[in-house]
Point group: C2
Chain length 178, copies 2
């Protein structure tokens, strides 16, 4: 997918609506993908994101070891992969091969971009104070990529147990909010 | 709006999809409402939620003082109110009167429920470690209310500057994910 760089000041517009994401990690020759919905914007610029990654996931160790990841944002065409990744374990399975996803080199981190996702955010861990108690990492987005062709991406929003709301219509109201 | 109590174990299904919310606070005789999108589930049960509430908002002081709030979830019919609340200041304005919203008593907190919202989560602040640096509060949901008539609520998902994605279709995939 041909992507362009997105200004970091606009990264919040991708995560603020609450899409399910695929987080990729890489450390010491191992790579993994995990499905995650518990994330939150924390600052506009530089963009900070917080997310909960359970320590029962193999990705937790890769993230803790490398302090880097990519937050990839899938759309409806990837719904089966989103659920498949969420239901499998990376220690034994090459999820890229198993789910037909393409790993592409990132610009600033070792974790790969998932090419089929419409946007990718390269991140560095900047605060681990809440990791022990809540598995909550705070990350800075250092590079953002987007497919310029998708203006209203059909993002997936998890309601639990494999039920997803798919992004619907867009409305615009006069607002001074950022 | 006639609501029923919702099991706390299901509270995550309301916030995980990332809807914009209206947070109500009350302290020392003052009440306020604020629009907020930077929230994140942090635990299933008891349900923990993290959110960023900027210290430039009057609601910040009410939340810090009372350590309580209600997270109210609006739908499309309240889009104008969501933006209106987001663009106004509570220190001088009674937002309930100004935007035609109905304050209803909560069961366990002093902050009111917004009756027109399809769901309401009564919350207590449980962790303020990240408030000074990020204005990030961690809250426990202690009571949840929902309109049982709305199965696929038309929640609003902010993409920045008054642009909202409105919840679209629902799809269900076989999954072992919670």
């Amino acid at each position: 997918m041909a992507k362009r760089s997105l200004a970091l000041s606009k990264a919040y517009t991708l995560l603020e609506p609450g899409p399910v994401v695929l987080v990729t990690t890489a450390h010491k020759g191992r790579t993994n993908i995990m499905t995650l919905s518990w994330h939150c914007m924390m600052e506009f610029e530089p963009p900070l994101v917080g997310f909960v990654m359970s320590n029962r996931n193999d990705s937790f160790d890769l993230l803790k070891g490398s302090r880097e990841c990519v937050i990839n944002i899938p759309t409806r065409v990837l719904a089966k992969q989103v659920v498949g990744v969420g239901n499998s374990h990376g220690r034994k399975l090459d999820k890229f091969a198993a789910f037909g996803l393409t790993a592409k080199s990132a610009a600033h981190v070792k974790a790969p971009l998932i090419d089929e996702c419409y946007a990718n955010l390269e991140c560095k861990v900047v605060d681990t104070r809440l990791v022990n108690q809540y598995c909550f990492f705070i990350l800075e987005v250092i590079k953002a990529w987007i497919d310029p062709g998708q203006k209203n991406p059909l993002t997936l929003h998890h309601r639990g147990k494999g039920i997803f709301m798919v992004a619907g219509k867009t409305i615009k109201l006069p607002s001074r909010m950022k």
